[in-house]
C-alpha cells in the first residue's frame, strides 16, 4: 500500500507546478515529525514540545554547513536525525518518567527554553533572523536551478518511504504492541516484568530523531532555520496533524500532513484573515465524525472491499 502511494507521488511530482512540488516536499518532511508524535500517541503520550527536536534538526543542518562545510544532502539529513535523537536522549531521561498532562507540559516547557536559547544567543544562532542554509549537493553535484526542487522532493520521498515502512514494522512488533499495552495498563506491564520507562524512553528518542530528520529536510527546502521551528504553536501543529490524519496507521500522518499543507495554503489564499478558523473547523469535523483520523476513512473502505471478496488486502 505505502509503496503504491510512493510510486504514484514519484511519477506525478515532476509534472506538477514548482510550488506544488515544494509544498509536497515540506509536507513529506513534516510527516516524519508527525509520525514520531503518532508513535508516542500510541503509547498514550502527547508531546506539545516536539518543535524543539524539529528545530534541533534544522539548526543542526545550518551549523553543519556553516562550521563544517558539509553540503551533501543525505549526510545533512542524517545529521538532523542525530541532532534530534541526541537532544531527545538527554531530555528523555527526565521525560520518560512522566505521563499525561505532566508529560505534555514538560515537553512544552523544555521546548520554550530551546526557543528562548535560539532567540537570545543571537551571536551564535542569529536570533530572530535565524540562519541561512545554502543549496545542498547530491552526490557532489549541484542540481541545476530548475531541478533543485524536484531533487529535494525525491530526497524527502525516499526518506519518508524508508521511515514509513520501518515504522510499519515497528507498530506490529513486540515493542509496538508493548506501547499500546502500556497505554492501556501500565501496572500490568510492570507485573509481566516489562520495562515501561525503557520502552517509553526508546520511543521518545526515536520520535525526537524523526522530528530532527523532518526539520533537516524542511530547512533544506526552505533554506532558512528560524527560532519559530521550536515555538509552541509549531509543536501544536504537529499534534493537530497527527489527530487530523490519524495515528492508528503509519500512513495516517503522511496523508494528514500532505492534506494539511495544501488546505492551509488554499485557506490562506481564500481568506487571509480567517484561515485558522477554517483549519479549526476542519479538525473539529474530523474529530467529531472521524475520531481515528482521516486515514480511518481509507481503512473502512478497504474493510468493505474485503467483505466483498476482493483478493487484494491492505498491508495492515
Amino acid at each position: 500500500m505505502q509503496w503504491a502511494i510512493v510510486l504514484l507521488l514519484a511519477i506525478v511530482a515532476p509534472l506538477l507546478p514548482g510550488w506544488t512540488v515544494f509544498l509536497l516536499s515540506v509536507a513529506l518532511a513534516k510527516a516524519l515529525v508527525v509520525l514520531g508524535i503518532g508513535l508516542l500517541m500510541r503509547g498514550g503520550l502527547v508531546s506539545f514540545g516536539h518543535g524543539m527536536y524539529y528545530a534541533a534538526g534544522a539548526y543542526g543542518v545550518a551549523f553543519a554547513m556553516k562550521l563544517m562545510g558539509i553540503r551533501e544532502a543525505l549526510v545533512l539529513a542524517v545529521l538532523g536525525l542525530v541532532a534530534g535523537g541526541l537532544l531527545a536522549s538527554v531530555l528523555g531521561m527526565l521525560l520518560a518518567r512522566y505521563r499525561g498532562l505532566f508529560f505534555a507540559m514538560l515537553n512544552l516547557a523544555l521546548s520554550m527554553m530551546v526557543y528562548g536559547a535560539l532567540l537570545k544567543f543571537y551571536w551564535v544562532t542569529g536570533g530572530t533572523d535565524g540562519m541561512a542554509v545554502r543549496q545542498a549537493t547530491f552526490g557532489g553535484f549541484v542540481p541545476p536551478a530548475g531541478l533543485l526542487r524536484v531533487a529535494y522532493f525525491y530526497l524527502s520521498l525516499g526518506v519518508v518511504a524508508i521511515v514509513v515502512s520501518m515504522a510499519h514494522r515497528l507498530v506490529r512488533s513486540p515493542m509496538g504492541y508493548l506501547l499500546r499495552a502500556l497505554r492501556d495498563n501500565e501496572v500490568r506491564v510492570n507485573y509481566m516484568g516489562g520495562w515501561v520507562e525503557q520502552t517509553i524512553y526508546r520511543v521518545y528518542v526515536l520520535s525526537g530523531g524523526l522530528a530532527g530528520l523532518g526539520g533537516s529536510l524542511v530547512v533544506l527546502n526552505v533554506g532558512h532555520a528560524v527560532p519559530d521551528f521550536a515555538y509552541w504553536s509549531q509543536s501544536g501543529e504537529f499534534v493537530f496533524v497527527a489527530l487530523f490524519g490519524g495515528y492508528g496507521h503509519v500512513l495516517g500522518p503522511l496523508s494528514g500532513s500532505i492534506l494539511f499543507e495544501f488546505v492551509r495554503s488554499y485557506a490562506y489564499k481564500v481568506s487571509p484573515y480567517t484561515w485558522q478558523l477554517l483549519l479549526g473547523a476542519m479538525l473539529a469535523l474530523v474529530i467529531l465524525f472521524l475520531p481515528e483520523g482521516l486515514w480511518s476513512l481509507v481503512e473502512r473502505r478497504m474493510a468493505r472491499r474485503d467483505r466483498w471478496g476482493w483478493s487484494w488486502r491492505p498491508s495492515s
Binding site: L178, A181, D184, N185, V187, Y191, R202
Partner: protein, 248 residues
C-alpha cells in the same frame, strides 16, 4: 522440596489499620495454599508486599533463598513471581490473543524487539495453546472488553500463568464470577496449576472454594495469621469460624 517463599515478621500499618502485623509464613515448593479472612484482614496487602507494590515497614521477604524485600514489581516478576488481580488487569485495547502474545514476548525478553512481528508462528502457537488450557481459545480474536467477567478473570490468571512463574499469587480468582460458574472456573484453574506443578498462593473470601481446593489454609485476621493447616482441621476451629463468619 525447597522453600519457595518465606516472610519474616512482615509489618505494615496504614494509619491505625494493621494491614500486616508480623506475618511469618513459609510456602514449600508445589503447595497450593489458600488465604482466607474477613475484609480488611490484610490478604491483598500480603500479596502487595510480596510483589513489591507495597514496602514493608519491618520484616523481610525471601524467595528461593534470596532477600527480595523492597524490590520493584517488575524485578520481582522477572525473578519468577507472577500475580493475578481481584479486578482483572488486561490490555483493554487489544484482543485476547494479543494480550497473551504480549505476555509471552515480555517473558522471552523480546519486548524491545521492533523488527520482527509480534505474531510469530512459534509465539502464536504457544499463545493459542495456553489460551486453550484455560478454555479461552474460542475468544482469541475478541477484544477483551467484550468478554464476560468469568472469562476476564480466567484471562487475567492465564496471562500470569503464561509467564511461567515459580510462584503464582492469585487475588480472589472467583470474585465477580457468578455462583453458578465459580466451581467451574476453579476446577479449570486448579487442574492447570496442578498439572504444571507451579507453587500457588490464592487469596479467597469464599469459604467453600478454599475448603474444596486449598491443600493448606492460612487464616488472616487484623494483619496476623491466626491459623495455618489443612482446611478440614483449620476451618472447623471455633475461633477461626468466628473470625471469618463473624459468629461464634
Amino acid at each position: 522440596m525447597g522453600v519457595v517463599l518465606e516472610t519474616v515478621e512482615l509489618t505494615k500499618y496504614f494509619g491505625v489499620v494493621k494491614a500486616a502485623d508480623g506475618i511469618s509464613v513459609r510456602v514449600e515448593e508445589g503447595e497450593l495454599v489458600g488465604i482466607i479472612g474477613p475484609n480488611g484482614s490484610g490478604k491483598t496487602t500480603f500479596l502487595n508486599l510480596i510483589t513489591g507494590y507495597v514496602r514493608p515497614a519491618r520484616g523481610s521477604i525471601w524467595y528461593r533463598g534470596k532477600d527480595i524485600t523492597g524490590l520493584s514489581p517488575r524485578v520481582v516478576t522477572r525473578m519468577g513471581i507472577a500475580r493475578s488481580f481481584q479486578i482483572p488487569q488486561l490490555y483493554g485495547g487489544l484482543t485476547v490473543l494479543e494480550n497473551m502474545l504480549v505476555a509471552l514476548a515480555i517473558r522471552a525478553g523480546r519486548s524491545g524487539e521492533f523488527w520482527r512481528p509480534l505474531q510469530e508462528d512459534a509465539r502464536l502457537e504457544e499463545a493459542m495453546q495456553t489460551l486453550s488450557e484455560f478454555g479461552l481459545e474460542g475468544a482469541a480474536a475478541q477484544g477483551v472488553s467484550s468478554l464476560a467477567e468469568g472469562e476476564r478473570k480466567l484471562l487475567d490468571v492465564a496471562l500470569s500463568f503464561a509467564l511461567k512463574p515459580r510462584l503464582l499469587l492469585l487475588d480472589e480468582p472467583t470474585s465477580g464470577v457468578s455462583v453458578k460458574d465459580k466451581f467451574e472456573v476453579m476446577d479449570r484453574l486448579v487442574r492447570v496449576l496442578k498439572s504444571s506443578g507451579v507453587t500457588t498462593v490464592f487469596v479467597e473470601h469464599d469459604l467453600d472454594v478454599v475448603m474444596r481446593y486449598a491443600e493448606r489454609v492460612l487464616v488472616f485476621q487484623e494483619g496476623r495469621v491466626i491459623a495455618d493447616g489443612p482446611p478440614g482441621i483449620v476451618l472447623s476451629d471455633a475461633e477461626v469460624k468466628s473470625a471469618i463468619v463473624g459468629t461464634g
